[in-house]
Symmetry: C2
Subunit: 437 residues, 2 copies
């Protein structure tokens, strides 16, 4: 009976602002960061790095304030110290409900902001621990759960006007008999993806052109560009991208810089370049605004979700017909417990889930959720593409593997967020060697 | 030219969970707390407590996590140290925009949760400083601003589909010539209010009955009760309240415990007691849910807002026809800069603003916003009632003054959140004398 013997939360930051990697119209100079949670145990496991059983999770931030998430994750995680690993892994729904029902911390959101991001970090570590204990990648741990078990782990509160737990069991049960066939498809061909690495706003034109050309050569069928700072720049940059990528799919991302009328005007000016979607055209809170924009810019699709702070907001985006693409994030929503209900609602409304990734470890984490969507929830790949950004993967013990513009199926145990000890030591803030310089 | 010489943020907590004051269906055991900001200066002022010019603001929490707001407010407030007081007071819109445009901290919301609450604390202190510098209560500082000056201090971003700055100037200008007449009305009769002190969920029936009877004797015309934990209890408690208060207005507050179908069912069971409104029937994020509930429980009104995290959410509550009463909070929204645009939108939609108060210092702060609503924005008192809770006022240097169920017009300089030094020393967490015991 292994026990959780330590709960450590570490402030890890990468000085990405120096290179303008990750620059966009709203966030010109982020330092990609993680509030990184390690659940240490006295247990052992075959097949993991050092034979020690542990759980690793994180939430993603862009620098200042990462310390606030570290402090919140310490408070939230403290309750795990001394717990029996089998009990925690056996009732991840109970752990979620326990964390969410701390009414004093809840007041600071509720279910949003620093506290919710930090709950995601702790719960991501708990799911990782459960997967490592079982010796399975997270997606397989979930694919091996019965519909009833998975639903019991999820949060359906405030969702019953759209989806009840009973509806969810029915939806999952319908696809359960054919899960293995879809796993075989992914093992064969991987999961479809797109790249954002070419199109950061701070890159000069020649770098943009070169990166688009490289993306085509690498087999990418979908490319995304940042827009929204200057209309003339956008027109010129989209022309360059179209020249290079031909009739491949082109997506654009405004990172929330517009109000509703301006979004409509600007996107319609860019429409001749036939973008597949406009991402985050306005405030992530503005469900009705997204619905108005979607109506006015069709056939350009509307995508949002990386800052959509909880399942209740996703419920409304779907109810209002506000989105064509549902962009869940593994660290903004409170882990698997909250993400699976969003996958279910999106499937019910027929909206494809195309997760947000990039940042620190988001690709490593969220690939599991796209796989769960295909294998267990929607059963579809049509219209789905999973974001890929070529940043910081070298710091992870099990980095994502990309081939011909597709994610390969993860095979190693866990949820994927474990970082190398050397990387943590170097980028720990403010005393790691990368910051001490 | 006085200068801001210090920015202190103090963790102040009151052990209110011991008495069940403030208990409701979602928050059974809050310890009412404040992340309390003091802007010290080397200036002097006539008419303030000690002759020293300073600014005092806070955000309100219910215990655990107050330290997170303290840490965030320290980061946000640090930029004020060394600034010229006249420059800060002369451009509070600029200060707001500077604070909100820190894109790294913004990521942690955006505009919600710990970071936004803490921005409110710092900005509340800056507005308090400006009012003390001018020797005026905050409401009068604002009533003495031209429509253009007030609009320049406000945040209209993401609102232009409902309200532009130009619309706002027009609305304010229409009422500007008659401001003095409305001030005279308030000086004569005070601002209408209601009491929540009788109806906390943890109080036994005989205490509820006694407090209702006292409320009537004190001149209250509106009384609010907490509901939502147990339907039979609610039916019994509402019967007691109705017996005692007769045909005075009775409001009920569920503090977010229901999903949409359950809210409709439960409120319709309580409808025979003719509540004026049901407050927070479901998740504060659920704009469309509130709209559905409002349709199904009329003529019972729907009220929400104390957890409505920013102006974009209020915009949607109004656009969707989701609320009959708009319950702004002085610490959840980012101070005057964000509250005034909400007052303007509510006036445009014809929805009365009935602020949330109680907590620690919320009555002291938000009374100024109701006065600004009447004097500058809506020009109306009809349908407006300002919450009053008889808690913790003794810790403030300028506590609210209530007579015959109405707030008297504040006369002393500032925004009202200044606490006695003795109170701060006693309730500072964890080392104050009240906690050391």
């Amino acid at each position: 009976m292994p026990t959780i013997t330590s709960v450590d939360v570490i402030d890890v930051r990468f000085p990405t602002s120096a290179t303008l990697d990750g620059s966009d119209a709203m966030n010109p100079d982020g330092d990609y960061s993680a509030a990184y949670v390690v659940l240490g145990t006295d247990g052992h496991t075959d097949g993991d790095l050092d034979g020690d059983l542990s759980g690793h999770g994180l939430t993603f931030t862009i620098g200042r304030g990462n310390d606030l998430c570290v402090a919140a994750a310490r408070q939230i995680g403290a309750r795990l110290a001394g717990r029996d690993v089998d009990e925690v892994a056996g009732d991840l729904g109970g752990l979620y409900r326990e964390i969410m029902s701390d009414s004093q911390l809840r007041w600071l959101g509720p279910e949003k902001g620093v506290v919710h991001l930090s709950a995601a970090a702790v719960l991501n570590a708990a799911w990782d621990l459960a997967a490592r204990r079982a010796g399975k990648p997270l997606w397989r741990l979930i694919a091996d759960m019965s519909p009833e078990e998975l639903v019991a782990a999820c949060d359906f509160s405030y969702l019953s006007d759209v989806l009840t737990p009973l509806d969810a069991v029915e939806m999952l049960a319908r696809l359960a008999p054919t899960r293995q066939a879809r796993i075989a498809v992914l093992a064969e061909s991987g999961y479809p993806a797109y790249t954002t690495s070419a199109g950061w706003l701070g890159y000069p034109d020649d770098k943009l052109r070169r990166l688009c050309r490289e993306a085509v050569a690498e087999g990418w069928t979908h490319v995304k560009l940042k827009v929204g700072a200057n209309l003339d720049d956008d027109l010129r940059r989209l022309a360059i991208a179209r020249e290079e990528i031909g009739d491949r799919a082109l997506m654009i991302d405004a990172n929330q810089v517009w109000d509703v009328p301006r979004a409509i005007e600007w996107v319609n000016r860019l429409a001749p370049f036939q973008p597949l979607w406009i991402e985050e055209p306005t405030s992530p809170d503005d469900v009705l605004g997204h619905a108005a924009i979607r109506k006015a810019v069709a056939p350009v699709g509307v995508a949002t979700g990386e800052h959509c702070h909880n399942r209740v907001m996703f419920k409304q985006l779907l109810q209002a017909g506000a989105i064509d693409y549902c962009q869940i994030d593994s660290c903004r929503l409170a882990s698997v417990n909250e993400i699976v209900p969003v996958l279910l609602m999106a499937a019910k409304f027929g909206v494809p889930v195309c997760p947000h990734a990039g940042g620190v470890g988001l690709c490593e984490l969220v690939q599991h959720m796209s796989i769960v969507d295909y294998v267990c929830v929607s059963g579809k790949l049509e219209g789905r593409v999973l974001e890929y950004v070529d940043h910081l993967h070298e710091h992870f013990t099990d980095p994502v593997r990309i081939r011909d513009g597709r994610y390969l199926l993860p095979e190693r145990p866990g949820y994927g967020a474990r970082m190398h000890a050397d990387s943590i030591a170097a980028y720990r803030y403010p005393d790691g060697s990368a910051w001490a310089r």
